[in-house]
Structures are given as C-alpha cells and as structure tokens.
C-alpha cells in the first residue's frame, strides 16, 4: 500500500502557531456567542465552533491531513459510530409523543397537527 508516511511530512512550527492562535480566537468567539441570545441556535453555534476547533486539532496537531487514507478512515468511522449512538438513541426519545412532559419539537408539531385535524 503506498503510504504517505506522516513522518516524511513535517508540519512547520509556523503552521502550529497559526492553528493555536486560531483555536484561541475561536474560544473567544464561543464565549461571546454564548452571551448572545440566539434561541435554540445557541447550542448549534457552540457545537459548530467546537467541531471546527476539534477538526483543526485533528488535521494539524494530530497530522491527520498528512496521514495515510487508512488513518482518515479510522477517524471517520469513529465519528460515524458516535453519531449512530447519539442520533439513533435520541431518535427514540424525540419521536415519542410525550416524554416526561417534554414535547420534542418534531412530535409536538405532528401531534398538534393531527389534533387540529381531529
């Protein structure tokens, strides 16, 4: 298997510096965004920024950008499986009509709609 061995590609300190400063800036943005009222998008923005930070760490600090395809596949698999765990489990709760008095948005609209239609 022809491998782009990451030992052959050495990431420069300047790249690391750029990345770390970006990460710090993104941290600041996350905190600032937390103080703005974005309704239910607060969590979306927070997670999006966190994911961006994580991606930068994985790609550059962990050299994933310069690693063989196999490594990249392993990373994708891990993320995908985490997604299965989170999304499929939450799909149970989210699609229940009523869970401890909490009506998740999707079911809420469906139930309301069918109630209206009678």
């Amino acid at each position: 298997m022809s491998e782009h061995d990451d030992a052959n590609h050495i990431v420069s300190p300047r790249t690391y510096l750029v990345i770390i400063l970006t990460l710090m800036a993104l941290t600041g943005i996350t905190v600032m965004a937390a103080f703005r009222d974005l309704g239910r998008f607060n969590i979306v923005v927070a997670l999006a920024i966190a994911t961006l930070k994580a991606t930068l760490v994985v790609l550059y600090f962990m050299h994933a950008k310069f690693s063989p395809r196999r490594t990249q596949l392993v990373i994708i698999a891990g993320i995908f499986w985490l997604a299965i765990l989170l999304f499929m489990t939450m799909s149970d709760y989210v699609s229940r009509i009523d869970y401890r008095g909490v009506r998740f948005p999707i079911m809420h609209r469906m139930v309301e709609g069918s109630e209206r239609r009678g």
Partner: protein, 558 residues
Amino acid sequence: MSTQPNHRDPQFPERHYLNETYGIRSWLLTTDHKRIALLYLASVTFFFFVGGFFAMMIRLHLLTPSGYLLSADNYNRMFTMHGVTMVFFFLIPSIPAILGNFLIPLMVGAKDLAFPKINLLSWYIYIVGGAFTLYSMINGGLDTGWTFYTPFSTVYSNSAVAPAVVGVFITGFSSILTGLNFLVTVHTMRAPGMTWFRLPLFVWTHYATSIVMILGTPVIAITLALAAMERLFGLGFFNPAMGGDPILFQHLFWFYSHPAVYIMILPSMGVISELIPTFARKKLFGYHFVAAASLAIAVIGFLVWAHHMFLTGQSTYAALAFSFLTFLVAVPSAIKVFNWVATLFGGSISFDTPMLYAFGFLGLFLIGGLTGLFLGCLGVDIHIHDTYFVVAHFHYIMVGGAVMGYLGGLHFWWPKITGRMYPEWLARIAALILFVGFNLTFFPQFVLGYLGMPRRYHVYPPEFQVYNVMSTAGASILAVGYLLPMIYLTWAAFFGKVAGDNPWPATGLEWKTASPPPTENFPVTPEVTWEPYDFHDRPDLGLDVTHMPEVAPAHGDD
C-alpha cells in the same frame, strides 16, 4: 517444514513452541501468541465449567413446577451468574482469544501479532476481571439478570452487584485490546503476496469481530461505570427517583450487547468457512460475498439494538425502524448460510468430526436465526418477549451456533496446536451426543415460550412440566457431550497419534508449517502465490487435479 505431506509417517518436530522454553515463568510471561492462546484455553474452560454449574442448578430446579431446590432469590442468582459467566467470560473470548490468537499470525504469515505484550496484558486483564466476578459469586452472586437493568441493579438489589459490574468492566478491556491487536495485525503484518482477498475467511470474520469489539465494548464500559457510580455514589442517570431514566441504561447497554452477539457468532462463522471447504474438498462458494457479508453483519449489527426494548414504552416509530433493520441484518447471515450449502453441492464430503460440528452449526444456526426474525416482528414480540422462546432462540445461536463452531474449530486445529490427533470415532460419537442433547434441551423451550412460560421465573404452571423435564434431561446429555471432548482432547494432546503438518489436508497457510509450529511460526517468511481454498491446484500440499487427496489417512480410527 516438509513441503510434501507425508501421510504415511508424520514426524513430530523436535523444536516447537511448547518445548522451546520451560517453567511457569516462561508461560506466565510469554508473549508468544500461541502460548497466550493456551492460557486463554485454560481460563475460558474454567469459566465454562462455572457457567455450566449454574446452568445445572437452573435445570435441576426447573424439574418441578413449584421449585423445591432454590428460593426465588437464589434462582435469580443462578440465572444471572449463568448469563454473566457464559456471555462475558466464555462466549465473547472463546474463539477469538483461543483460536484467533493462535491462528491469525499463522494465517497471515506473520511471526506474531502486532502487539504481543498487549496480547499478554489482555489475558491478565481477563483474569483480573474474572477474579472480581468470582469474588461477587463468593459473596452470594448477583440477582439482577445478566442485563443489570436499573434501577434494580443500581439501587434496590441487595446482592453483590458492584464487584460483578467492575469485573465485567475490566474484562471489557481485554476484549478491546484483543480486537485492536487483530485489526492492526491484519492491516500491517500480512506476508508478501497475502492480499486481502487471499486471506482465509476466518481472518475476515475476526476482522469484522474486531471492528465490533473496538466500537461497541467502550460503550458498555462507560455504561457499567455509570451504573457502578450510581450504586456506590448516588449518581442518578438511571434512577427514576432522581429524574433519571432506566431506559437510557437499556439503550446504552444494548448498544453494545447486541453487537456483542455478533462478536460471539462471527468467529464461529469463520471457523465454519474453514471447515466446509476442507471437508467438501471444494472451494468456498462466493468468497467475496461471504467476506462482504461478514463486514455487513458487523456494521448493520450496530443499528438494531432497540429490538431488545420493544416492550419498554419506547417510541413506536423508533421501534418500527429497529424492527426493519433487524430484518435487514438477517440478510448477510442468510447469504453466508446459502454460500456454505452451495459449497457442499458437488463437493467430496467426508464426515470427520469437525464436519459433523459444521453440519450441526448449519441446521441449528438456521433455526436460531429464523426464530430471531419472529422476535424482530413487533406484533409477535409482544407475546414472546421475555418468554422461553427468546431463551431457546439465543441458545440455538450461541450453543448450536457459536459453541458448535468452537468445538469444530478446536477439533480441526487440535493437530496443529498439539501435533497430535484426537480419537476420531470417540469424537464423532461425542458430537452426536452433543447434538441430541442440545436439541432435547432447547427445542422444548421454543414450545414453552410459545405456550407462554416466562423466562427468569422460578415457578411455572404444572402443565409445562413435561417440557421442562425434557429440557433438563437433554441438558444432562449435553453435559456428557461437553465432558467427552474435554477428556479426550486433553488425552490426545499427550498420547494422540502424531498428526504431521497437514493431516486433513487443508489449504490454509497455517498448514504449511510444522505441527506444533515453531515459536517463530515460519522458519522462512512465506510468500503467498495461491488463492484461498484451492483444492485443485496446490501441488505444494499434494492437492492437484491429477489426484484427489487420500480421505482420512493419518486420522483413521482409533
């Protein structure tokens, strides 16, 4: 060592992995994958006996409807300990840790696994986890069911839950490390010429199993850790009194425990994929499909867990999705069964003991698998969930499937592991006894479940007694079927007829080295130029179109 099979007079090698070094330290500190496999063989067999003891207690107790043998509480402990021991300490490690550890480096043409020291570590972790669980047993065991459902396990049970939960948590890491070792070995340690599609299917299924181990086991680890935290320190994720949700526990538990059953069956399927071509003297039908199906089982197996939770009050829409996916996961298994049967067609079949186990697997796995579809059907499951129908279903797969494969594999590779053959006729009789005993034990349980007898109950209506008596009678026959191989395989390891490199003969790379193999596996790194399961064009093994191999030469009657 010999390139031409010398069936007339096989030689026992002078120097091999068993006599390379002597002394207890050379075994307890070994990093040789073959010795580690034998360490696992000893400890896994020990736990099999422990689990079998609990099974005996269950079946003896269920001889009578009113349950004279055990109190309700103690009956709960029996079935719980039976489940915990058998699932975590026998079924999950058995084939991967014993046969997988022994064979995978041989099958890929490597000197050892990728991480031999981690391999030894994983055995020690298994022992420590087992010690915790034994400690729990000595302190009265636990009565929560092997599924540790909350809040009973975390709040209300008065039994030794914490040590058992910790024990299983620890053992999980043994599984993770084994899986990690296998995955990396298959990726980076293959001999020159051993491409992915020349790998034996045993390796493919262990690769798929390792994917499941890596991705699933950490989830049960965190789940048990949280449950232990709840029991010991009062965290409340799973406790309704604190706003927690018992169903969350079930989701997390089954996210692993369903793929876990694929950890148990995939290696066995790998064994069957080796046995059937060998004893039908024919190339496996649809190699690529069987390899792909193994991966498909591993992946789709992660998407069906909530079919264990159909009656918990989960969302109907989610239940529908999981039910559909459950039907889907049966497809790759069916593809494999079809391909095995198609391999038999037109083959030259011999009924050696491993093949008897393979036939047993085919029939029993089929029944077990099909009954799984009944359970996956929402409407039907309402009636048969938590009945003996479920018990029969999973025992058909785990015993009729996984254990048959395990025993078939043990017999098939015993000559490679020990250099000596087991007594063939005694082994065939034992296999038949096992098959009869198994069916007598578990088939009545399908009927019981259909008639409505719930599982995990220590009493039952008197009209069910005849089936329970049949089941217990079968269990005693089954026990004989298990004991016989343990006795004669041990005897054969020391006194059996010398087997030679390749007594069957079979086509895998492991058969090209001595029996038992030298510590470094191959004196010279092999270079692979042949396709797998090629019984017609392997002159190096004495298998070519000009003459059929002798049937049952060195492994004749004893």
